[in-house]
Each structure stands twice: as C-alpha cells, then as structure tokens.
C-alpha cells in the first residue's frame, strides 16, 4: 500500500484528512502513483500535472526518502520502502520565497 502525503491545499480540495493510501500494481512508478491518486480523486487532475502535457507543474515537488524525485522521469520506480508503505511519497508545494 502506497502512502501519499499531499500539501494542505490539495488535501482541502480533495477533502482528505491525513495521508492517502493507494493500491498501485507494479511497477510502482511516479507516474503510476499519480495515476492512481487522480483516479481516486479526480478533482486533483491538473493540480499536480498539467492537463495537456501531463508534466509536473513547475511549483510541485516530489520527495521520496529524503531525495528530490521532482526531476525524475515518470517511469522511475520508487524505492521499496515507499512500495511497502513505510516511507511516504511526498507531494509538496515549492517554497514561495519572499
């Protein structure tokens, strides 16, 4: 079971409390996790990835096991600890600065 942590505004939008738990069949890639997340919560379509290009939105970050996976290919398989659910797949809004 994959554990996905969403930023505050997306939890509110999808009316989620806490982490999301998703069944994702192997291979468990970044893209597959996002597909499963959007399937469960269609209102999140377009908020993490662009509707047209399916690319990550510029101010969204993916953190996995203290590593930045934002620039990894959607085909990248996530680490086993994320697949087992012991570590979350973090979706983060980038720092605004200022």
């Amino acid at each position: 079971m994959i554990r996905v942590a969403l930023p505050y505004h997306l939890r509110n939008l999808a009316r989620i409390q806490g982490d999301v738990h998703l069944e994702v069949p192997p291979p468990v890639t970044i893209g597959a996790i996002l597909d499963a997340l959007e399937h469960r919560y269609p209102m999140l379509c377009g908020t993490i990835r662009d509707h047209g290009t399916r690319k990550r939105r510029p101010f969204i970050r993916f953190y996995v096991c203290r590593e930045d996976y934002s620039l990894e290919s959607p085909e990248t398989v996530v680490p086993e600890s994320v697949i087992q659910g012991s570590e979350p797949f973090l979706i983060v809004g980038a720092m605004a600065g200022g």
Binding site: H9, L13, E38, H39, Y41, P42, T47, H51, G93
Partner: protein, 386 residues
C-alpha cells in the same frame, strides 16, 4: 423583502456578504477556499442558487467550483470519485485546453509565442440556462460549458481574429469581460487586455474586432490600430444592449451601435484612467467609474477615494464622496470589483485592493463599508434575491 448576496473574490479566498433589502446590516461568510486566489464568482440568472467560482493558484493551477445552494456548499463539478475502478478519471471541470493547433500570439520582444493557459479571470453564466456558462482565460481565450461546468470547450474563432497580433500587457493577456446581449442570444461581447473588444453575432463561431474610435496614442505605435487596445472593462444596461460603456486604459468610451464606433465621454473626470465601469440598474444613462491617478500610480488622485457618476451617459461627471475616505487613501479598485443590485433605489458595490467592500444603498449618494479588512479584492458580484 428582497435579499442581497454579494460575492467577493480576493487574493486569499472568497467571501459572501448577505443583507436584507435595507443593505445596512451584513453577515459575512468566509473565507471560502482559504488561501487560494478567487478571481471571480458569479451566480446564474436562471438559477440564483447556482454560483460558479474561479479558484486559482500559482502552485496548483485552475479549479472551477460550483455551488447549487447559494454558496453554502461547494463542489468541483465532475470531480466526483469514479465508482468503477479501471476507468480513467475525468477531472474535466478544471481542464481548459485550447482547441486544435495552439497557435501563437505576439510576445513582449515582438516574436511569436505559444498560447499558455494560466487561469480563468471571469465566469459569465448564461442568462437563461443554468447549465451554460462562459469563461474568460489568460492567455486570452473564451471557453464554454453546457453541462454546468463539468467540461469546458474553447470557442476558437475568437483567437483566429488577428490573435497573432495580440500582446500581453503587464497584467497578463486576460479575457476579463464577457457581456451577453439579453435580446439576442447569438451576440456576445468580450474584452481582452491588451487586444481590445470583440463581438460575435453567431454565438461565438466567428468574431470581429470592435475597436473603431479607440485611441491609444501612448500605448500603440498606431493609435487607431484594429487590435491591441488595452480595454479594462465594458458595461451594458440590459434594456439597451446596443449601448456599451468602456473604461479603457485611459479614456471612458461609449458606443451606441454595438461597438461599430466608439466615442470618448471622459469629460470633466480628474483622471480618465481606471478599471471598473458599471451602469445603474434602472437608469441606463447613469454610469459609475472610479478614477485612478495614472497607469504608473494605481491609486486615486489626491489620496481621495471618489466614485464618479454621470447621469448623462458620460461627459458630465460628479464626484461621490460621502462615506468614502477623502485623505491618505491609496487603494485601487480592480476591473471586476464593481457591481450593482436591482433594487430601487439601486445599490452600488465595489471592493478595493485594501480589502474594503463599500456599498451605497442610494445610487451612490452615500457609502458605507460592509467589511474593511479582507485580503485584496479581485472581484465583486451582486445577486438580488426575492
């Protein structure tokens, strides 16, 4: 007794202000969608309990929200979880894709640049069908829904109207004004910064620029250009759909022939720069503007917040100051942040970048703040309810 519902979009959420017809005592609901920019909210004339909201974020993009109970509860139309696993999610309500080949418009350096969707500036529900609404986008395009906001399709004919010559201003290339002709469902007007005003007479299939008479001597190399004018806002009285009033970047303009020819009616205003313009509910020649010092200094002249009213369709203007700050006031009033109710006497409303929303319950003669400390106000719409 009638009720008034004021829909306020701000930089950090939405607020709904309600009162009875006296418009003296107000209840404040909000923030809704806290932390998000709410560019615009507007209720359907065909079903006043149906309200659309444009919720946007630099991080998370565009969301369309809809309420079917007058703003008490909200949903993303078409955003429900699918019951059957294996089906691909729709999430169409947030999807605004340009039709066909995306095409290009003029960029700041004079080169051609592809259209890129950023946000919805304005939602205009149909006057007769609660399922139908129009949405104005940045980068400028017009979208339409016929299923209550579950899905949106572009009306691409607009961008084919010399779109390659449109160029964004400093505020972005937004389609911010959509005016529906109540006497002719095939006729719509839109205005775009900085492309100008456009009209369709066939329901949005084809468009023509309606900018003849606009002068942009400081903004354009050809002051009489067919497109490229920075129109800030257009207003119409429903009883006279061929008469339009415009707040341009500089100049107050009017047309008496549906935009075929405009003439300036700035008259004795202290400044003819500004953003909003609106028409009295019962007097089609009475119009309201809020003069701003200049395009370089976006605040009222002399630090005095003054609404100006013309009862003669322009040219002759009177300052309305009672109840408004007359010293040290340096707020702005944005283009979508003024509205009127349908009561008699007519109520006028506007919101400021300082977070105040003012009401006049007597056609502008005197004003009072409904709220003083909201986030910067982006839009104000009013519903007059039975």
């Amino acid at each position: 007794m009638s009720q008034i519902r004021v829909l306020v979009g701000t930089r950090k959420g939405a607020f709904i202000l309600t009162s009875d017809g006296q418009r003296q005592n107000w209840k404040v609901q909000g923030p809704l969608f806290a932390g998000w920019e709410i560019y615009h909210m507007k209720g359907s004339a065909a079903d006043p309990n149906r309200i659309f909201a444009s919720q946007t974020s630099g991080w998370f993009g565009q969301i369309i929200q809809r309420s079917d109970d007058g703003g008490q509860t909200w949903n993303t139309p078409g955003g429900e979880a699918l019951p059957a696993p294996g089906e691909f999610p729709k999430g169409e309500s947030n999807k605004f894709l340009y039709e066909g080949t995306v095409g290009t418009h003029k960029w700041y350096d004079g080169s051609q640049h592809p259209w890129e969707f950023k946000r919805i500036w304005h939602i205009e529900p149909s006057l007769t069908d609660p399922e139908t609404a129009y949405a104005g986008a940045e980068d400028a395009a017009l979208f339409k829904t016929v299923d209550g906001g579950k899905s949106w399709k572009e009306l691409p004919g607009l961008r084919h109207t010399k779109g390659h010559l449109w160029q964004p201003g400093a505020g972005g290339m937004g389609l911010h004004t959509i005016v529906l002709d109540p006497s002719n469902p095939k006729r719509l007007y839109v205005a775009i910064s900085a492309a100008g005003a456009f009209r369709t007479d066939d329901g949005g299939e084809s468009w023509r620029p309606i900018n003849r008479g606009l002068k942009s001597g400081y903004e354009l190399p050809d002051p009489d250009a067919e497109v490229g004018h920075c129109v800030h806002r257009i207003a119409m009285h429903p009883s006279r759909p061929g008469v339009l009033f415009m707040q341009k970047h500089w100049d107050i303009m009017r047309t008496d022939n549906a935009g075929d020819e405009w003439r300036e009616v700035s008259g004795n205003l202290p400044s003819d720069f500004g953003f909003p313009i609106d028409v009295h509910a019962h007097e089609p020649e009475t119009i309201f503007v809020v003069p701003i010092k200049s395009d370089s200094e976006h605040y009222p002249p002399d630090g005095k917040l003054r609404v100006y009213r013309s009862k003669s369709g322009g040219n002759e203007w009177e300052a309305l100051t009672q109840g408004l700050p007359q010293q040290d006031c340096y707020v702005n009033v944005l283009r979508d942040a003024m509205a009127v109710d349908r009561l008699d006497p007519c109520g006028i409303y506007f919101g400021t970048t300082g977070g105040q929303v003012y009401v006049s319950a007597n056609s502008g003669d005197s004003w009072q703040p409904i709220v003083r400390d909201l986030p910067a106000v982006l839009s104000v719409e009013v519903q007059t309810l039975p």
